[in-house]
Amino acid sequence: MHGVKRVQYSKEVLEARKQRDQARLKDYLALYEQVFQKRKNKDFSQDAFDSTTNILRMNPELYTIWNYRRNVMTNGIFPASDPSKVNDILSDDLSLTFALLKEHPKVYWIWSHRMWCLEHVPDGPTDDQLKGWKTTNWKKELFVVEKMLDADARNFMAWNYRRYILGNMDPPPPPSAELTYTTKKIEANFSNFSAWHQRSRVLMSLWKEGKLDEKTSKQTEFELVQNAMYTDPDDQSVWIYHAWLIDAGEDTALLRREITSIQELLDEQPDSKCTVYGVACPIQEAHFGEAFGQLGP
């Protein structure tokens, strides 16, 4: 387990644990045998469904059984259920996988099963509200992913999943909402590069779609970054984000302004590493060189 420190256990405790593990292993192997047999028999019954639930709770890495579970649903359970029931079954699976994710936040199969569930939510509940169930489930998903990011703000699977949710929500959330979310995450800890990265993605798409003016919004970003620089000039996140803002460095006036502000920071905090992370960044090296030349001695 990650981050769990070594502890000394007594002989008795170790023996008791061994006994418990052996009993668990025995149950697991019996269940494993059973589920694979059912799969071989193409058993798509409720009973088969329940056995997959039991074994996946014990071992969510069993990708063959996740696949089998979906086959049971599409071939056995869904055809025998009305849409409202299908929606309930999928909601139950979303709850099951949320519980599993809390214990195993980095198991791919759990995340991908959630996606499958969301993509199979039926139309309904009524003809006037065809997207009703879908909207409810997808909205809930954003809440789930926020819970996951509260537990570990750098879980990249959760961030990837968040981008998937935001990209597929119908109707999509307002564009400013995600900027607000990243501001909150960055303010909580500006070393969290995952949040800066998300912010850069959101801005890039807003600029591209013309929903935000690139020039004015960049100005706001430079101010945000400047605050962070002064708080901790040794933080890499800030410098990488800064380099991204400067982009290819074609804007000489902007470069000159940024060099001046970094120079001021250096005068104030001469030991800071910003010279390493910031000014010497190789992509901008050539351009900084030009700009420095223009500044002159």
Binding site: T64, N67, S112, R163, F193, R201, S237, A243, W244
Partner: protein, 271 residues
């Protein structure tokens, strides 16, 4: 293996074939010095082919599963181990790899993702493995600017305590000493790694009763033990004692040169 190819039955008693497991199985067989007499090469190529998607990426399983740079690497490694690239559309796969590259300098797990040490290795190893394919051009699809930027990002992740972290502003971890170290090795930038600090970090991850943990004071596991030893095989500290004499490592396949040679003589030169 020929016997295990049970035709069209989706419900064999075995798990569905898996791209990552196929790569590790080939390496494991080579490590065990199997003669590869029973290797079903067309079957493996069929698996690889059926896993590639329209955007160039690969899924773990023929019928889906996750899809990111890890599977791309396994497809490339399998093709180069078999010395047969007919299971892959290399052009579209390379385009996918390039879409995962980001401004930090590393490669995200999938397009738009934050740069990660492990998937940066997958991207670079794939690009360089593709060079061994006769029809490809001599350039590894990396511009000098991209190469410099990637080297820079990787080096920034060597933390003051000597170990590499996997992402910007994360704590160092023994496995990233391999992912980042091997990436720098592939890029021909080994000389910039602080080998003394690296060895000092890894020795602190060592557990007094054996094995190496992800970080000092943590619990050792086989994965981090292997990765740490592999990193040291690429970066032995200067003036090290005999205990650091490790077999030469093939950074692209992530196996010893001896095993790589076994593969060349028993799989590649056979056909």
């Amino acid at each position: 293996m020929k016997g295990a190819e049970s035709g069209k039955d989706d419900y064999s008693e075995y798990d569905t074939p898996h791209l990552i497991m196929t790569y590790t199985a080939l390496l494991s067989l080579a490590i065990l010095r199997d003669d590869f007499e029973r290797l079903n090469k067309p079957g493996i190529l069929k698996l690889v082919r059926s896993c590639q998607r329209a955007d160039g990426s690969f899924t773990s399983l023929p019928n889906g599963g996750d899809s990111d740079l890890r599977q791309v690497y396994c497809a490339f490694a399998i093709s180069s181990i078999l010395d047969d690239w007919s299971g892959i559309d290399v052009g579209s796969a390379v385009k996918y790899i390039q879409r995962c590259s980001n401004y930090e300098g590393g490669y995200g797990q999938s397009p738009g993702g934050e740069a990660l040490g492990g998937t940066t290795y997958c991207a670079l190893a794939s690009l360089y493995l593709a060079l061994s394919q006769s029809t490809s051009s001599v350039s590894p699809h990396l511009s000098p600017e991209e190469r410099t930027r990637t080297i820079r990002w990787l080096l920034q992740n060597q933390t003051p305590v000597g170990g590499f972290s996997g992402r910007t502003n994360k704590v160092p971890d023994a496995c990233y000493c391999f992912w980042a170290g091997a990436s720098l090795h592939i890029l021909g930038a080994s000389e910039y790694v602080n080998v003394t600090a690296l060895a000092s970090f890894l020795s602190k991850c060592q557990f007094k009763f054996g094995g190496i943990a992800k970080a000092p004071e943590d619990t050792p596991d086989p994965y981090h033990t292997y990765m740490a030893v592999a990193a040291l095989a690429l970066y032995p500290p200067e003036g090290a004692d005999k205990s650091y004499n490790l077999p030469k490592l093939n950074a692209l396949w992530n196996t010893t040169e001896d095993t790589a040679e076994w593969i060349r003589s028993h799989i590649q030169r056979r056909s």
